[in-house]
């Protein structure tokens, strides 16, 4: 038996656990029917936000990217348009979270972060759709629908993350 050359430390275990929960949530979400195609609650975002608050930002990046790749492989959309939409949404989300992660504190809570992440996700997806998948301005007619859903689900996810964080500190 050969010994593993790669040393696995606690950080890796932590990332793997968090990513596993995020992947499970994403797959549950994938099988949930949606009234409007493309509108999803994005419940995996709860885990990403939790990771940012509880641990640190690099861990959240790892969890997010692993989630995107693994979910696309399991669901079967790897390297397809859906995968790139998901990836660009996640990257934009992470970028905005990186910019705004320090506002969490006295005046702003994780609900704000969740809303920012949800809107950044929409921006990322619409950029990809406009530049690559459907290069026509007509798609911007759909933007308000997605923005309203981002508002609702961003709020719900933020509240859920908050509940998770308060449960976790007790």
């Amino acid at each position: 038996m050969t010994r593993s050359i790669i040393k696995i430390n606690n950080q890796d275990h932590k990332i793997a656990k968090l990513a596993a929960i995020a992947i499970a949530l994403s797959i549950i979400e994938f099988f949930l029917p949606s009234p409007i195609p493309g509108v999803k609650p994005g419940i995996a975002n709860i885990i990403i936000l939790f990771t940012i608050i509880k641990f640190d930002f690099p861990t959240a990046v790892w969890v997010s990217i692993i989630r995107v790749f693994v979910v696309s492989i399991i669901v079967g959309t790897f390297l397809g348009p859906t995968f790139f939409l998901s990836l660009s949404g996640s990257l934009f989300s992470l970028m905005f979270l990186f910019l705004f992660k320090n506002i969490n504190g006295k005046y702003f809570s994780v609900i704000s972060l969740s809303l920012i992440a949800a809107f950044a996700h929409i921006i990322g997806q619409f950029l990809i759709v406009r530049l690559w998948i459907i290069p026509h301005d007509g798609i911007f007619y759909l933007l308000p629908i997605f923005m309203i859903s981002a508002l609702i689900f961003g709020l719900v996810n933020g509240i859920a993350t908050r509940a998770l964080l308060t449960l976790n500190t007790k």
């Binding site: 702003f108 609900i111 704000s112 923005m147 309203i148």
Partner: protein, 132 residues
């Protein structure tokens, strides 16, 4: 029940002022973008055609009843307060009448049996089909 209300009120107290600010900003942004993006262009003129022959263009900003003689009979077109419809038609299925009023750019009513089509045109030309 009282416990639930207490819990909810505790929760609302926990929402910080900054959160309300962010929520407000996003609601305003969503409303503003919706009002911009869902402002569909209104047409200004309508064009009536019978087969390939153009009968004429009319302004939408007038009240006018026009009777057009087609191959199978008379079609009555009503223009009223910026919108237009076909009110009487000799065709059997009356799809053109059921379509009702149209007022937006590039909308069209067609009566196939009587070969009459009404399309709304504006100053600028919009797309007439989306292809992917």
């Amino acid at each position: 029940m009282k416990k639930l209300i207490k819990k909810i009120s505790q929760f609302i107290k926990k929402i910080l002022i900054g959160d309300l600010f962010i929520i407000f900003i996003f609601i305003v942004l969503t409303g503003y973008l919706s009002s911009i993006l869902w402002n569909f262009p209104q047409g200004e003129y309508l064009k009536i055609q019978m087969g390939k022959q153009e009968i004429g263009s009319f302004s939408l900003n007038q009240n006018l009843t026009k009777i057009i003689e087609g191959p199978i009979g008379k079609t009555e077109v009503i223009i009223e307060s910026g919108k237009v419809r076909i009110s009487k038609s000799p065709c059997t299925k009356k799809y053109c009448i059921y379509q009702g009023w149209i007022n937006q750019l590039n909308q069209i009513i067609v009566c196939v049996p009587n070969q009459i089509s009404i399309s709304i045109i504006g100053n600028q030309s919009d797309y007439d089909s989306l292809n992917y």
